[in-house]
């Protein structure tokens, strides 16, 4: 009884006090990096690997004494890939005075959040937002990314459909989202310009609808040899399954949003033979192998989507702050452009628009339940 009292009235306040003091002294001199993206909801599988990548690098930098003698502190915020939540998260991170942000994950959410960061002069490096206008428009000088934008991806997919597969009639379908529609629009333009093939159908579908039978029927009657789909894996899985159930052999070609193991898990046998573009295979890069092993050691699992992009983004920002010797916006901005760094994606630095030089896409195909890179 006496021990109990001692514990309750003396130890607890004591602990509270120690934690309280330690966290205030800790935060005064840390370099704060915001990690924003989808950590819950439908698209959590895209966002969580970024958190893990950031944690691994922050830990390893911190055990070596930090950068500029300061430790890295991560501030992790979830916006479930929803633009309206992303602006809230951005405001929150700005008010916590972060020095840089790794994120956001989805293009729509990134676009919504960017203005807030721009006004506060905060460097943003997204591992996965691929909408071309983010960098093309020149509106957001603070924006960087370690992934190639969609027009590069759409160009690759269009060339693949026309030159490698020699398709003549193509249906272009998208999910009406910033990412999917952007990709589909570029793909459509590239296909139409080539004059080798015809776009027989160009339509958007509603994400989360109860059923996609009607659009599948429409694709069937359009006589398309192939579908180029812009969007994410949940809808793609449904459309592919419905097509295969109706014995349609139409080729399915899609983007990075579909190049996710969850797609294969959900679509199962229907996923076989599906093509998708995705970042270049980096499995032979020793840094990538090391990064993946680090993940396996720390978390016991294989890393998920965009892990290496996030890992590289985090390395790039750490390197830039280190080279600039300050966290001041202009200096870091310049350092990102002038100093290249070896990352799991290869040697990268950023161009004037903020796109990483040295990252690109390859085509993949599902074979026996995994994506295999096509040479």
């Amino acid at each position: 009884m006496k021990n109990d009292l001692l514990f309750r009235w003396i130890l607890i306040p004591f602990f509270l006090l120690t934690f309280g003091t330690s966290s205030t002294t800790f935060s005064a001199e840390t370099i704060k990096i915001g990690i924003a993206g989808a950590h819950t909801g439908d698209l959590a599988s895209y966002g969580l690997p970024t958190v893990k990548a950031a944690e691994l690098i922050a830990n390893s930098v911190n055990t070596k004494g930090g950068i500029l003698g300061r430790k890295i502190q991560l501030i992790i915020e979830d916006e479930a890939c929803k633009p309206e939540l992303a602006t809230n998260v951005a405001t929150k991170l700005v008010s916590q005075k972060v020095d840089a942000v790794i994120g956001h994950i989805c293009s729509g959410a990134t676009k919504a959040a960017l203005r807030t960061y721009k006004d506060a002069e905060i460097i943003v490096i997204s591992p996965s937002a691929t909408s071309p206008e983010l960098s093309l428009s020149g509106q957001y000088p603070n924006f960087h990314r370690t992934i190639a934008p969609d027009d590069t991806q759409a160009r690759l997919v269009a060339d693949f459909a026309l030159k490698t597969l020699k398709l003549k009639k193509i249906a272009v379908i998208h999910d009406k989202g910033d990412y999917g529609k952007g990709f589909a629009e570029y793909a459509k333009i590239f296909i139409e310009k080539s004059k080798d093939a015809k776009v027989v159908l160009y339509e958007g579908i509603t994400p989360g609808a109860v059923d996609y039978s009607a659009i599948v029927q429409k694709i069937k009657y359009s006589g398309a040899d192939a579908i180029v789909y812009g969007g994410y894996h949940p809808e793609a899985a449904s459309v592919v399954q419905l097509m295969r159930k109706r014995n349609m052999k139409t080729i399915f070609i899609s983007d990075d949003g579909v190049k996710d193991q969850t797609f294969i898990k959900v679509a199962a046998v229907a996923a076989e033979g599906v093509y998708a573009s995705g970042p270049k295979d980096t499995t032979k890069n020793p840094l990538a192998i090391a990064a993946i092993n680090e993940h396996k050691k720390a978390y016991g699992t294989e890393p998920g989507s965009f892990y290496l992009n996030a890992y590289s983004a985090m390395l790039a920002i750490v390197n830039a702050i280190d080279k600039a010797k300050t966290t001041e916006y202009k200096a870091v901005h310049k350092a990102l452009r002038n100093h290249s760094i070896d990352t799991p994606l290869g040697k990268i630095k950023f161009n004037d628009r903020g796109d990483a030089i040295g990252v690109g896409f390859s085509m993949y195909q599902v074979k026996n339940g995994i994506y295999v890179e096509l040479k």
Partner: protein, 300 residues
């Protein structure tokens, strides 16, 4: 012409599911004047429990039709238990309060159930096995209609006819209709109103669970959020047909499904939801109580 029939059957399939769900909304509204926003979540829970039960049964070595039947029975019971509990927890204590309170509590229940399933299960999409049997006689019609579409339409029609018979010819149905007409009067004539309300929720949830199993096997994937969209569409169908009316809910569901299917087919799938809601607005302008709704006399 073939395209027309394909769209028609596709719309009928989708409409049947909407109708199954809309029945739950309309029955509850008929009796309690309450919009049960948690109904879509019962559909989602139905799909999830079917997945769990089916996986367990498959691991035990069962196959084919036996899995489907056992999973359906288990799921219907489970979802019915959920519907019963939701009513007892979220609506019954508020029955005497203003009409807005149970509405808010329904929305709260819906959010609670969604997040509960997300945390207890997963936020990822899960593959749903195709439980609907692939028998030979269905192959012969597969050029006209997909086997799963056929099963969905037939099952829905059977379930809905059973419900109509139940309401028309059984004592329970009579009690339900009486409660819908006038709760106080029904009580005075010896109807156990509380039991009738519980049964309404149980029947509605069972229908939603059947809808959940059918559409999940048809589409092949589920996650914790599928109830929201399906719920909104089914609610629209119920309003379209005349909320409170059982044949109205069926008709509303079919009309909505067909409108979406033909809209997608002949115009553009970009506007799928636009067709659905434009139709709703049009019908409500000309017939404010829905297609089969009786003009309501507001009870004071």
């Amino acid at each position: 012409m073939n395209f027309f029939w394909d769209l028609f059957l596709g719309g009928l399939t989708r409409g049947s599911i909407y109708a199954l769900l809309a029945l739950g909304y309309t029955m509850v509204y008929g009796i309690l004047q309450l919009i049960n926003f948690a109904h879509g979540e019962i559909y989602m829970i139905g799909a999830f429990s079917a997945l769990i039960v089916a996986s367990i049964l498959t691991m035990q070595g069962l196959t084919g039709l036996s899995v489907l039947i056992l999973a359906t029975i288990a799921t219907v019971l489970y979802a019915a238990a959920y519907g019963f509990t939701v009513e007892k927890i979220a609506y019954k204590p508020l029955r005497q309060s203003s009409r807005l309170s149970p509405l808010i509590s329904a929305i709260g229940m819906s959010i609670f159930l969604q997040n509960y399933v997300m945390l207890a299960q997963t936020s990822d999409f899960l593959p749903f096995p195709n439980l609907l049997p692939q028998s030979n006689f269905l192959d012969s019609i597969s050029s006209v209609i997909g086997p799963s579409d056929f099963i969905i339409i037939v099952t829905s029609a059977a379930v809905m006819s059973a419900l109509t018979l139940l309401l028309k010819f059984t004592k329970m149905g009579k009690a339900m209709r009486a409660t819908a007409q006038d709760q106080t009067m029904a009580m005075l004539t010896g109807v156990n109103v509380n039991r009738v309300i519980s049964r309404t929720f149980i029947i509605g949830s069972a229908l939603a669970a059947i809808g959940g199993i059918l559409i999940a096997s048809h589409v092949g994937r589920i996650n914790f959020y599928i109830g929201f969209n399906a719920g909104i569409k089914a609610f629209t169908a119920a309003v379209l047909g005349g909320i409170g009316s059982v044949p109205g809910a069926v008709l509303g569901g079919l009309v909505l499904g067909l409108a979406e299917s033909f809209g997608t087919g002949y115009i553009s799938s970009d506007y799928e939801s636009v067709f659905a809601f434009a139709l709703l607005i049009l019908i409500l302008i000309f017939k404010p109580d829905g297609i089969l709704g009786r003009s309501s006399q507001q009870k004071v």
